[in-house]
């Protein structure tokens, strides 16, 4: 499986990372090196093996469905690059 420049561009788009067109060939090559390394997994007989979901045999705990925390608007907004009137501010989303 070989990754070409357009696939690299698509992956960058999915990952929401801007990659300049001139950087795409090198990126595609790096992907191919890493994926080539990963290809070894194809040699393993995985017939009948379930994908691991939890490394320790445990069930995720449940908690009561009640409000346990809250009222921290100021603390939550404290580190925002742009916060206004109690909200996070972002560029216009809807035309």
């Amino acid at each position: 499986m070989s990754i070409d420049e357009s696939t690299a561009a698509r992956v960058a788009k999915l990952a929401r990372i801007k990659v300049e067109p001139e950087a795409l060939p090198a990126l595609a090559q790096e992907f191919n090196t890493i994926l080539g390394f990963i290809e070894q997994l194809g040699e393993v007989d995985i017939e009948g093996v379930e994908p691991m979901t939890s490394v320790t045999p445990q069930n995720l705990r449940r908690r009561a469905d009640v409000v346990a925390d809250g009222d921290q608007q100021a603390a939550i907004l404290k580190n925002a690059p742009d916060a206004r009137e109690g909200f996070f501010a972002v560029p216009k989303v809807v035309e």
Binding site: V11, A15, V19, V49
Partner: protein, 496 residues
């Protein structure tokens, strides 16, 4: 008394309890050592005032009580990956520039509650992705060790490179680290220090910046196995805020250090004898096995047949989880936001912010993770890797079921290498640093790196012991026996 910053945790604790020194004196000694060690670039955020405040409080607590916790008054460093309230915590990434958490990670809170004194935050690879501390936004941390009389700057390893350098150079008595594929044990091995990654679920992940959630674990980096036992106990807890935290009592790990390993079965896995293994590593390993045998253990040849597939499985699973975890860095809630051009919308904001904020290795892994999770490849890559992971864990389950108590392996394929030496190599070469450690993360097991010798250039080298899940006490005791037998006491010559 020796210089106070050179003490380990156990000795400093004992001196405090006997009234031979104070937390303030210990803390001042460390702050002075840190001030003189700028060249190592280990501490990247300094909190001297906070440290002296906490030292004063610890001294009060020590005066008032015979029963102060073991960590009370002991100055330590905290890896930048741990969120610390009001103190910069940016995972060595530009994207978290300026971030000062409004909360404290459970592990650092546990240490603080026990009276430990935070000296500052420690350098690391960006988002803990790296094996040489060269991906940090703060620049490289430098290993205090050098090859003979050469002045080539060596890596302290990664990702907990700052922690390892700081402990080895006696800038603090101990430090926290985190380990996703070897990030505690490899830097410990490169610096002649002790590092343990506990069983997955022993230390809470809450408030630790997430890299790969099914693999990440915090642990201590210390000057001795006893210190590791003391600090691991203080870091561990059941935490309802981490859904994978184990609801188990935390044992007294120090009390488990009998060093009596008579009758223990130590496995030597044949698959770890890699092609091209340097003679000095092979000799170190054989010597370690002989030491444990002399101490009364039974050495048993074992097989972990899927070992070869651990690194490729890791390089699917870890990037997949990272791509998901790092989706939160969007320039909205915290950290860096790119300057936008007129007409830029929210997508441009995400894309520019993440391109500016993430370094090349982080970008590479996020995109690999995105690819292996994308439609059409999820089964071929991600699910296949998770099935291989189940087989890797089964390899360990089988040998433990056959009566093996712990497993002895080299910790790293080489001693510390020079900074920049891997720059031109492809990424896989760097990834191979974790070849002996990554299996342990995939299987969720505890593993400890113990320095047992030096190479021909005088650099420290370590062996790794791998234990049964939840039996860190037993593992630490075996490590203690190995430490005693090896008698490793070398320290780096001060040049900084």
């Amino acid at each position: 008394m020796t210089e106070l910053n050179k003490l380990g945790l156990a000795d400093a604790r004992d001196a405090l309890r006997k009234g031979e020194t104070t937390s303030k004196e210990l803390t001042e000694a460390c702050l002075k050592a840190i001030e003189g060690a700028g060249a190592l670039n280990a501490f990247v955020h300094h909190t001297p005032e906070l440290a002296m405040e906490r030292a004063a409080a610890a001294d009060e607590r020590l005066k008032g009580s015979e029963e102060a916790p073991a960590m009370c008054g002991l100055p330590i460093g905290i890896k930048d990956l741990f969120c610390t309230k009001g103190v910069p915590s940016q995972a060595a990434s530009r994207i978290l520039e300026g971030f000062k958490p409004e909360y404290e990670s459970t592990v650092s809170q546990n240490l603080q509650d026990a009276g430990a004194v935070m000296l500052g935050k420690l350098n690391m690879d960006e988002f803990a992705m790296g094996s040489s501390n060269e991906t940090s936004t703060y620049g490289n941390a430098i290993n205090p060790w050098r090859r003979g009389n050469e002045d080539t700057a060596l890596t302290p390893g990664g990702s907990s490179g700052g922690s390892a350098a700081a402990v080895a150079a006696d800038l603090c008595l101990a430090a926290t680290g985190t380990d996703t594929g070897g990030s505690i044990r490899q830097p410990a091995a490169f610096t002649g220090t002790v590092g343990i990654k506990p069983t997955y679920g022993r230390c809470s992940r809450w408030g630790v910046v997430a890299f790969a959630s099914s693999l990440d674990q915090a642990g201590p980096m210390t000057k001795s196995v006893r210190d590791a036992a003391i600090m691991l106990e203080a870091m561990s807890s059941f935490d309802p805020k981490d859904s994978t935290s184990a609801d188990l009592a935390v044992p007294n790990f120090e009390a488990a250090l009998t060093g009596d390993i008579r009758g223990k079965k130590i496995g030597i896995p044949k698959e770890y004898r890699m092609d091209g293994m340097p003679d000095e590593i092979a000799t170190l390993w054989a010597d370690g096995a002989a030491m444990l045998k002399d101490a009364g253990a039974e050495i048993v040849d074992i097989s972990l047949p899927h070992t070869k597939y651990a690194l490729p499985a890791y390089y699917v699973i870890a990037p997949a989880e990272a791509s998901s975890n790092l989706a939160r860095y969007d320039g909205v809630r915290y950290g860096h936001r790119a300057k936008l051009d007129a007409g830029d919308g929210i997508t441009e904001m995400y894309e520019k912010t993440r391109a500016e904020g993430f370094g090349p290795e982080v970008q590479r892994r996020v995109m690999i993770g995105t690819y292996v999770l994308s439609a059409g490849f999820y089964d071929a890559y991600y699910n296949r890797a998770r099935r291989v992971r189940a087989l890797i864990k089964k390899d360990f389950d089988d040998v433990f079921a056959a009566g093996i108590d712990s497993i002895l392996t080299p910790a790293t394929p080489s001693a510390a290498f020079g900074l920049g030496e891997m720059t031109d190599a492809d990424p896989i070469k760097m990834y191979l640093n974790d070849v002996f450690t990554v299996t342990v993360n995939l299987a969720g097991l505890p593993g400890i790196a113990v320095p047992t010798g030096t190479n021909s250039q005088g650099l420290p080298m370590s062996l790794q012991l791998i234990g049964r899940p939840w039996e860190e006490g037993d593992l630490l005791s075996s490590a203690y026996a190995l430490e005693k037998a090896a008698g490793f006491v070398a320290k780096p010559q001060k040049w900084w």
